[in-house]
Symmetry: D2
Subunit: 271 residues, 4 copies
């Protein structure tokens, strides 16, 4: 099977390299062509236009940075629409916002979780590629369900991060060693990779962005809006969202979302 | 080493059996003596009074159901005070509230997490017993730190449970399959034993009490009071606490603390 | 001065009657013409189309039930655009959502508060009419500021209503007479017309809609969205919004917004 | 009727002066006797000890700064207990915490609201004095109800202050003039003396303490504890309490409780 890739950012590059390593034929396109060099050196072909990639491949995967780029690649001259026809599969992956759970490292190692929704037949055709790209793929039903699932998961994650930040602060101010708290948590019922990975960094005030706080807050906002549409009252998520907004107002939006810890730690008055 | 046990409730019995299995000499006392029969059948001796147990053993562990019982065992006639003297170790374990993390099953299998605080020398003397009783023991500093650590952990757990309940409800009302959410969560950064264990039961409205909701809410309240003393603002924990209180007002206090899910699911008006 | 009225719902009828009583010439238009009968009996003229009203009057005030109606009246054939030209004033009043604070009764008695924004010259021309329609009018700057002001005021009102509901419930459950609480509040620093007017009704579980809860919740949501745009963290408003959402999920959306009291009172479990 | 006063702080002095002006005979006692000079100059007698005051007067009113002082005046040598007997009335007034609503200025002008609870007959005997001291007195039932009522009122007030602070901040950040908001609020359904009095000061960042923030937060905490006892879930009060705690952690505890506005305004990061 020949797989096309439109977009070779951090995620697209990692995913296409992964397919190449597993014996897939891969054709790539990127607006800035030079970004294709590395994958070409590993055996990929290059398409001149999105249309050319679609013409050549059974399945084309678009993983573009924002909705504008995603639309342009479809509708512009020499775009996907020029070649899409029966027998061609087109998969749009919204990085960070929707149907992929995981970021750079899981993309490189094929450990993504793929939250697919929409055309069941296309999903099934793409499963061999998904099996390489992710440790698990889900087919979640009608279009939209992938994005909804991502929102629900990220909303829970955002609230959990706030709970963790509050607990860390309470431990420190009460005279406990925060590293002891991390150790105790890691042996108990809510032990999880996020506490394990981010906890020691947070104790050092290190918030190198893996998932920027402003994106986390956007997902909280969208999840709360989804709750509003469905009349679901979510007081804990709402409180967590306000903490993320407070962090944004403190200028922390571009740091990792764990920087919400700073809003809880806050001690001194800054006029 | 000879270890004494005052109190043979669910936890005390499981812990003393565990020590017996591992070759410790164990002497037990319980207000209702008949409760000692099973451990005696496995090789334990019986003390007539708390004082007699303390006299005979290097280390005596009290694990009593409530503070009144704990005080009585120390201060009553033939109580611990009659015999405690240099060379005698006395360890008070508050089940569910303080320095043991874990309940019946971990007690039986030696998988408790022991949060010790107070007398460092006594802690070190007791380590061989702790190594049998728990998968890990911590020495956390001055008396009080064990209870504080337990409160911090349970506070985080309570907020996390609320975040989970809100996410499950949002998923269902948005047309997602809650089992898919559980599957996706279990592959991601906040995968944890509690979601894995309680999630499928919650989807079935099963709240058989492992840790009763009213106790969880009491721990939230005490953790918030600890935060108040130390001027730590914890809006997410406060919102979670109010949800647990709402659950109590709905008559769910004796169910498992996961029953807070019912407050989020709530749809119909009950006058 | 001749004033035109497009829309004779509850508010438009009360406002045009008020102008007639105060000696203004009034020309009205309503999609269903029969609704004009009462004001015609009191001296108003009728325009066949919005365009005809605008042609005849110096200032035309549109007060329509929803945005679709507001757009149609402007852009449809024989709509406002056909006649609007220099020297013609056009004022769009969004009932309940934007620049009028107050509902039916204040409209009848000329006690509205008018939150105008946009064209300063038009505002000044309309002041004589505003002086009749309202006890006070404000000019708040660029277009949009009227709606924003309305949102801010309603957001505060929604949080205050929740605070009031919680206090009433706490008083009752603690064994205090809720009427005593109303009396004490009415003598203190936060005495206000809303407590005085709605308090006794709430104690009787009477929530006849003056301002429907679903509209109040919509305003909370929009105010929180405005806060999100401006990075303002508002945890109390967020908690209040979730309570209104809970009320919606309990089927109380069409009652008065004071019915949020029911979410606090809630005692029994309704599966 | 002869009225005794134990304690001549800000409140006690204002209240006893008020009774003197209205023709009551007043006998006062204060630990530091020199504080009695001013009221003596206006006609009061002085008692050497609390016991002497009680012996001389039909009704003795104690208004002391803290519980320790209140206990000492009753139980110490020459304290109230030495002389209290049938026919003697003793009224304990906890300033700021319990049964008086209002502070210095209302005390001077006889505009207090008196929240009495306990002995009905004593209440009735004291009514003539209460009629001078306050604009209104309530008899609220068993001992404790006065304090509870005060807590409920202050809890509502604390949430309302937060709602107001959030609204003021939202208005400013959205480009509205905060003075316009104050004007609009003052014409609407939630117009109240607190918005009118404190609003313009808050806009100027003036938080001269009328009611210190740390006392307001203490009342929120106690009201939430009362809610906990009675299983009343109060998410808005809980969110407001966390904001007051945040203000305490920012070092604002001794300013007026309106300084909670600073927690909402907070923009910059203070490491």
């Amino acid at each position: 099977m020949e797989v096309g890739f439109l977009g070779l950012g951090i995620m697209g590059k990692a995913m296409s390299m992964n397919l190449l390593k597993n014996g897939f034929k891969v054709t790539v396109w990127n607006r800035t062509l030079s970004k294709c060099d590395e994958v070409v050196a590993h055996g990929a072909s290059v398409g001149e236009t999105p249309a050319e990639v679609v013409k050549k491949c059974n399945i084309t995967i678009a993983i573009l940075s924002d909705p504008a780029a995603a639309l342009s690649v479809v509708f512009d001259k020499d775009g996907v629409l020029d070649q899409i026809c029966s027998g061609k599969g087109y998969i749009d992956i919204h990085f960070l916002e929707a149907p992929v759970s995981g970021s750079k490292q899981p993309a490189e190692t094929g450990q993504l979780v793929i939250l697919a929704a929409g055309d069941k037949a296309l999903y099934e055709e793409a499963v061999p590629a998904f099996d390489v790209l992710g440790k698990k793929s889900f087919f979640l039903g009608p279009v939209g369900n992938g994005a909804k699932m991502k929102l629900v998961v990220n909303m829970i994650m955002g609230s959990v991060m706030n709970a963790f930040s509050e607990g860390l602060t309470l431990a420190k101010r009460s005279g406990l060693n925060p590293h002891s708290l991390l150790d105790v948590l890691d042996l108990g019922g809510i032990a999880n990779p996020m506490f394990r990975g981010k906890g020691p960094e947070m104790v050092k005030d290190n918030y190198s962005p893996a998932f920027p706080l402003k994106h986390q807050q956007k997902d909280m906002r969208l999840a709360l809006a989804l709750g509003d549409q469905n009349a679901v009252s979510m007081p804990v998520a709402a409180a967590a969202n306000e903490a993320f907004k407070k962090a944004r107002s403190m200028g922390l939006g571009d740091l990792d979302f764990s920087a919400v810890y700073e809003t809880v730690k806050l001690l001194k008055h800054s006029s």
